[in-house]
Amino acid sequence: MTTMRKKENAKNEKGFVLIAGYLILPLLVLLVTVMVRYALADIVASQRSQTLTQALYLAEAGVDESLVQLRKSYAWNGGTFQTTGGDFSIAVDKLGVTRRRVTAQGIPGAFNGNLTHSVEIIIDKNIPAHFYDNAIWVAKALRLESKVYLINGNIRYGTNDIMVGPGTINGTLTYDPSVNPLPKLNFQQLYDIASAQNNVYDATRLKGGPSVLPKSFWYQPPTDPSDPTTGIPNVNYVTTDLILNGNIGTIGGFFVVVGNVLNNPNAALNATTITGYGKVDGAVYSTGTFAVSAPNPPDKTKTLSVMGGVWAHSKVSVGKGYTNITYSSDYMKAIQALGINPGVTVISWQDLGNQDGS
């Protein structure tokens, strides 16, 4: 009897497993569904973030591409480019004779083609009036710290970030926001001239110090001494920072300190730094800072002179020692006579943000 009851009970318990299964299964399904939904939401969010970052990079690539194309031909009006990481389209609008507005749109496409990102730049291709008329042309900051500096010529500066100590300025000091940023020159043209003169200087060559640089402004002195445009200046093209220390003696020419701009549209700004004394017989154009520090305490026998003029983008800084920057109209005329064309200068950069086309 007992054995029979047990068998009957065992038969009845088979149904219980099914009921338990029905109770547990929906709970498991619910749990898994919630987990999958969380995971999917994370994946979608991270993919969207990745896509938008990709779109920004593509837009920046579009800006770089537009600069390359517009340097080749200023009549270029844009187009669409495909890369392995997505596409970018570039539109160029004319804003007057020398200005262009470039809008670059990054289109990743891989995850969601509707998500894009745009960047807008305004560029100019122009050498402004007064470019060759100044002892100092600085786009951004100006620091004249010395009590004993001497500037013979005009100073033109582009921002209010200035500090002018009680030295001597024999010329005008003009705030002109239009000088910011420093206008770009046709660096390929300058490189070609410098290369023909064997005056291209990289970091290795500059290890030789000031003695490797030309001693005079003139590559060929003027055939007519009364007309500086009949001479040819040394064009010293420097593909790195120009850093000189101690007694530099006399170095001469038109120093173009621009770094690797021919190969990299976003090349770092390159600085000219002279810590010492001697004479620069010529002019210096620097995409970064132009900083000179003559010996301090000031020693008149150890003066640092720049006899030509200076252009700099980031900052012109004159230290506490005896420093003399003198404008030379003859040298400027000779530089102008080289016929250097303007380069493409980026005046403004603006992030237009994401566009969700859906």
């Binding site: 305004i122 951004k140 900051a141 921002t159 926001p177 403004s348 603006q350």
Partner: protein, 178 residues
């Protein structure tokens, strides 16, 4: 024989209970470890997410400014907040340049730490929270590279029970484009 199949001896119950207790202990300690690991991972994710979100938002805006417009000096020192404008079409002519071809600038934007929140402020009125759980926020510019702003942010986050707080620091360098 029948009697013995109807129940368990005390010894059998004790042994079975001990085995069950052992298995249960291992099971719950594993569960607890998994929970801790989950909380720790959640905390790490929350920290890195907050760091990434905050830095992205700040750098996307700072990048459009200009070296002379940023208020922190280029002296290599760290500063707790930053003020800067961005280009803005103020005269409504469709470009960010004025008639003289000079950039037009917005009112200054501030990023600063308020308690444990990074706040974006403009015109002293529009406060917006950029990141939470922030214990440190600093900005600096080096003398040699005034056009590069370095930002450092530390986030401390405690999720779940709060037993497994996570701390993360991120440093980003942004080149000013204007």
């Amino acid at each position: 024989m029948d009697g013995s199949s109807n129940g368990f001896t005390l010894m059998e119950i004790l042994v079975a209970t001990a085995i069950m207790a052992g298995i249960g202990g291992v099971f719950f300690s594993t569960l607890r470890m998994n929970q801790q690991s989950w909380e720790s991972a959640q905390s790490h994710l929350a920290v890195s997410g907050e760091l990434r979100r905050g830095m992205n938002e700040m750098s996307r805006e700072i990048v459009a400014s200009e070296s002379t417009q940023v208020d922190i000096p280029a002296d290599g020192a760290w500063y707790p907040s930053i003020n800067f404008p961005v280009p803005q079409d103020l005269d409504g002519d469709g470009t960010v340049l004025n008639g003289a071809g000079v950039l037009e600038w917005s009112d200054p934007i501030t990023y600063t730490l308020n308690g444990t929140q990074v706040i974006r402020r403009q015109n002293n009125t529009n406060d917006r929270v950029v990141a939470n759980g922030v214990t440190d926020l600093e900005f600096r510019r080096e003398v040699a590279s005034p056009d590069i702003v370095e930002m450092q942010m530390t986030v401390r986050e405690a999720t779940g029970t709060g037993d497994f707080p996570s701390t993360g620091t991120i440093t980003t360098r942004v080149r000013l484009r204007n």
